[in-house]
Symmetry: C2
Subunit: 351 residues, 2 copies
């Protein structure tokens, strides 16, 4: 019998190979190379998990389609993900991404910002190819892409706005609104919707996938926030503790701010706003210590686990009409994997 870990290792690897091939065709062999397409290519070569693409392909198969029908949509999702990361790193002035310098640090802000726009344009081109081959769902693909993009920008606006405004009164409910926006639509909800739309040739009820994708996206994001606080740099690829330096509102931080003493609260808000003389590592160390003392990290793990359970509980409804149950099983295993409940040995671990 195949374990969930083995299933994820096998299917995710197969899907990655399919997407890699289509990705090569999605990046034009054209000028300007050194100011645009070389940057795009180098960025895409920094392999991420590719789980968004795999979720899209798996949903397509689960709803009766062939992976090949959805591969350009999957490529579009991965390209858009990269576009968001490039712009996000500029907005946060992050140092590292996927184990290498963020694009604006290696190539300067102007070319990096423009390359982010270029990744977005290539995502549209990939989806247009998908649309051209399947006229019966073609017109809906643009609406799905537009919605995904709009919601992601809204979530990003919340996060950036709170930091700019030094708003330390963000609640867990605010956090969930923000994560639904910045993470769930493009990482989990629309990958499933696009796959189901294409696989079912427009017959699946896409709105049923929204709660599942929301729960899964939150579980994934909270887990990613916790990984950002971990001390294991090798397998992370982003700046450890970067969220603290960038002042990101996360579940552990919100928990800490609502459970610590008034004096500690003042200290923490100063540390995450760049006030005071401590260097980055000291700031991160102090905030993580306080999180540990107040049970904020354990609370974060509880939230991630609860949402993973909610996602699994939602699966029967979300995939009720999906005829291919082996692909639904794979999606269940992917939920466990994304929430850190299992390690798939053969896949890269950079986010």
């Amino acid at each position: 019998m195949t374990t969930p870990g083995e299933l994820v290792a096998r299917v995710l690897t197969e899907d990655q190979a399919l997407v890699r091939g289509a990705m090569r065709r999605a990046i034009p062999d054209a000028e300007p190379r050194r100011y645009l397409y070389d940057l795009v290519e180098a960025y895409q070569a920094r392999a991420g998990k590719g789980f968004r693409a795999s979720l899209c392909l798996a949903a397509c198969r689960a709803f009766g389609g062939r992976a090949e029908d959805a591969v350009d949509a999957a490529v579009a999702l991965e390209l858009l993900h990269s576009a968001f990361l490039v712009h996000d790193d500029i907005e946060d002035d992050s140092k590292l991404r996927r184990g290498q310098p963020a694009l604006h640090r290696s190539h300067g802000l102007p070319l990096a910002l423009n390359t982010g726009d270029g990744l977005c344009a290539l995502a549209m081109m990939a989806l247009a190819r998908c649309s051209g081959r399947q006229p019966e769902v073609g017109a809906n693909l643009l609406a799905e892409l537009a919605h995904l993009f709009r919601r992601t920008v809204e979530g990003q606006a919340w996060e950036l706005g709170w930091i700019a405004d030094r708003n330390f009164s963000v609640s867990e409910a605010d956090y969930f609104t923000m994560v639904l926006g910045k993470t769930c639509w493009y990482s989990t909800i629309h990958p499933c919707r696009l796959g189901a739309l294409i696989g079912s040739r427009g017959r699946a009820t896409l709105d049923r996938l929204v709660p599942f994708g929301f729960y899964l996206g939150v579980a994934f994001q909270v887990r990613d926030d916790l990984d950002n606080l971990a001390l294991d740099t090798d397998c992370y690829g982003k700046d450890i503790g970067g969220d603290i330096i960038e002042g990101k509102r996360t579940i552990p931080l919100i928990h800490l701010l609502t459970h610590c003493s008034p004096e500690e609260r003042q200290e923490v808000t100063g540390l995450i706003s760049g006030i005071g003389r401590e260097r980055s590592e000291e700031r991160i160390g102090r905030v993580v210590d306080l999180m540990r003392q107040h049970g904020s990290l354990a609370h974060g793990r509880d939230v991630a686990d609860s949402f993973a359970q909610l996602a699994l509980g939602e699966m029967p409804r979300a995939f009720a009409d999906a005829p291919n149950r082996s692909d639904v099983d794979y999606i269940s295993s992917l939920v466990l994997y994304l929430c850190g409940a299992l390690r798939a040995p053969a896949t890269p671990s950079a986010a």
Copy 2:
């Protein structure tokens, strides 16, 4: 008899009113307001000429459609134009846009960059609405949008790359390649293509519009570059001489660099690279003086006029199949207006 100036004043004003109404429906009355949609709204309220939208509506009417059929596509073009301006101003670190501080200077870089992405997302939503109402051309709209976006980013990459690399050997042919990319596709070619596609319900030969749009776009851009060097701040709205400070490769600059003495060339490349102690106004004044001495401004005017003539000469072929000749006449008048050959009194003049 109506003069071209009167025709532009009347039709451009009518089109602006139609687009303004549709634009209000295109900007969601939703949260996050102060971190996103307030910025979008305020930016769109800084009225530009709206000529891209008007070109799209006029092409739709010329090819037999109603302006209402294309109004969401026209709105998409204006929103995308704004998205490009917001990102362009960040890339160039420009000070002014449409007579007010550039968005990243009034609201900070992170929120401005994200608002640029938001404008792009709203453009996609507007086009998706257009697509939903006209299934026979729906799938093609995404391909048109993707192509327009990709080419614009390529043109932008050339411009930014040359500045980053301190490349002073850019030829006029290089300049035309860059302007075809950064200006023509989204400002003139695709507005005509989208209008013709919608107006003809997919029957027009869109590729015939490409040379016309290329000539018109170059004429417009060269004229805009010359306006940037003018001394009349009131009716411009961007930083006068900003192109010189930002090191933009323009027709007058390329002419100057190829016609001045080796000593002057060294001085000019220093001035546009920010080397030396002169303040901005002194740099601009000196470069403009040299351009005047070497006939570079007159050469720029010649190039703009030649391309305007090429555009007018191409019109019979481009609009051969368009049944509504009064709209074709309007487009001819718009060509004259965009190339500075006439002043339309009733329209705003900020770009």
